[in-house]
């Protein structure tokens, strides 16, 4: 709260990411910069191969940039930590040997956030927020895909992290459930005002979830644009819908085609 609202919470500055595949060194992103303010719903959008998930994992501290820095508050990010909680796309992110409540509790106690009855109370509070109180004692394999993702979100939010990182959390859900989950996520955000960094390849999802949308071009990922969004697919000053502007930015060629080849 004491934070100057204009001062960014997370700053990604000229970050180049590489990872080793079987016999190549792949550059996932090249000199990507952006900054996120507190309580932003910041969406990274791009086609597959633009390194958006790799970028998210770098913010999570799982991958070290070969160039550039990532800072959260005043600290440079060097390793994973419970101040940045990741919600994955995979349904198996819940530990199958723990019940719904134990999964949330585990996060709180393992990280040393809370212990004892305080932890139980917090876990129950967030499980109630995602409307799964009835299933608190169920094991993950008894839940549907959407419910598993809800538990993962509850686990992340219960940590009350400085930033919640979401890696295409709804991509593996059916379209009806996905729409419902987007609605619930926005509702949760209204309640908690948690800072979100959300990765997706769906333009509609980006427009609906984000208040800022970062567009990345593929091979390797570079920043194409950063746009604001109000949650509806509004018509901008140029008379075009936001979604069609995004589409043309992403797919109608780069302004300086083949730039990567010269560098």
């Amino acid at each position: 709260m004491a934070l100057d609202p204009q001062k960014p919470l997370l700053e990604v500055d000229g970050v180049t990411l590489q990872y080793r595949a079987r016999d190549h060194l792949v550059t996932a992103t090249y000199r990507v910069s952006f900054s996120i303010r507190k309580s932003d719903r910041y969406v990274i959008l791009g086609p597959s191969g633009c390194g958006k998930s790799t970028l998210l994992k770098a913010v999570g501290g799982f991958i070290k940039p070969v160039e550039g820095t990532i800072t959260l508050g005043d600290r440079q990010i060097t390793r994973p930590g419970p101040d940045r909680v990741l919600v994955f796309q995979e349904f198996d992110q819940l530990l199958p040997w723990k019940t719904v409540e134990e999964n949330v509790l585990f996060a709180l106690t393992a990280s040393g956030r809370l212990s004892g009855s305080e932890a139980v109370e917090r876990a129950r509070h967030y499980i109630e927020k995602v409307k799964l109180t009835k299933f608190a004692d169920s094991y993950p394999h008894m839940l549907s895909g959407g419910m598993k993702q809800r538990v993962a979100i509850a686990r992340g939010m219960a940590m009350e992290p400085e930033i919640l990182l979401m890696d295409e959390p709804f991509a593996a859900l059916d379209a009806l459930t996905r729409g419902q989950m987007q609605e619930e996520l926005l509702q949760l955000w209204e309640d908690t005002r948690v800072t979100l960094l959300f990765v997706t390849h769906s333009i509609a999802e980006a427009v609906r979830i984000g208040n800022r949308i970062l567009l990345l071009t593929p091979h390797p990922g570079r920043v194409r644009a950063e746009l604001g969004s109000t949650g509806v697919d509004a018509i901008g000053a140029d008379g075009r819908k936001l979604s069609s502007r995004i589409e043309s930015l992403l797919f109608e060629g780069e302004p300086h085609g083949g730039r990567a080849a010269h560098e």
Partner: protein, 291 residues
């Protein structure tokens, strides 16, 4: 075009505001017979009864108790062995030795796996050693063990450790390696210490493989033990089941031989169904990691 079809007077839209009710129950409980046959124990129990009947029928038809005694004779010898204490003592001796070897083998496997998980040299060592020693029958080591450890219990325990540790270490290590990347990242994300990471993520995540390793190790240990006792005869603390079988064969007490074999089988069934099955049901089945 879609507009035209939706206005097609032959196929008007309709909305059902009163879906029919009165369909009775949606979920009907299964009948008693269906529920009884749904239980694995019942089906397997019936299977055992059928096998015993086939045995009895074939042995009666063969009518040669020196080659193949009937089930009832075997059961009688089994009962007499229990009552007289011969069979019971032999079983106690065997199981005591077995447990010593098994536990020691598990400890060795744990050390080896810990080393293999922590370092790459350890992983290479485990791979190489397992490839070398896992196919080597434990009984082949018995002559050497008798030179090293003398004619006591020590030799048999050594052979058992060899029988147990490779398959357990191999399975546990394979299990650790196949723990999902997502679970690993979850563990790191919440800042688990190295020890907590192993106990809270790696071990439960690898439990299906670990349990398989424990089961294979147990079976290997039994085989090695009975074989060793057959060759070795009486160890310092008295004869085990292998010795019981050998002795009865020398006396041409063939039902006694069968009773000894039956004891090995019964013990195997009991451990499999009571210990390992319960363990699986309380853990990996309950967690949906095994169907």
């Amino acid at each position: 075009m879609s507009d035209e079809t939706s206005r097609n007077p032959e196929r008007p839209d309709f909305i059902n505001d009163n879906p029919p009710t009165g369909f009775g129950v949606v979920a009907k409980p299964l009948s008693l017979l269906e529920r009884v046959f749904d239980r694995g124990e019942v089906r397997k129990g019936l299977m055992l009864v059928a096998l015993a009947l086939v045995w009895e029928g074939y042995a009666r038809w063969l009518d040669n108790s020196l080659l193949f005694p009937t089930f009832s004779d075997t059961a009688l010898a089994f009962w007499q062995g229990l009552v007289s204490g011969n069979l019971l003592n032999a079983t106690v001796v065997s199981v005591t030795t077995l447990l010593q070897g098994y536990v020691l083998g598990l400890a060795c496997a744990a050390l080896l796996t810990a080393f293999a998980t922590a370092t790459r040299v350890g992983a290479d060592l485990l791979d190489t050693l397992t490839a070398m020693f896992n196919p080597l029958p434990s009984i082949a080591l018995l002559p050497l063990a008798m030179i090293w450890f003398g004619l006591g219990n020590g030799s048999i325990v050594f052979v058992l450790v060899h029988a147990v540790m490779w398959s357990v270490a191999l399975n546990t290590h394979t299990g650790f390696r196949s723990v999902s990347q997502t679970w690993r990242m979850v563990g790191q994300n919440y800042g688990l210490s190295r020890f907590a990471y192993v106990t809270k993520i790696l071990i439960p995540g690898a439990l299906p493989s670990i349990l398989t390793g424990l089961k294979i190790g147990w079976a290997f240990a039994w085989r090695a033990l009975i074989a060793a006792e057959l060759v070795f005869g009486v160890s310092s603390s008295g004869g085990g089941l292998g010795w019981f079988i050998f002795e009865n064969k020398n006396l041409l007490e063939i039902p006694g031989v069968f009773a000894g074999l039956l004891m090995v089988i019964v013990f195997g069934l009991v451990v499999e169904n009571l210990v390992f099955r319960t363990l699986e049901q309380r853990t990996i089945r309950r967690w949906g990691m095994q169907s």
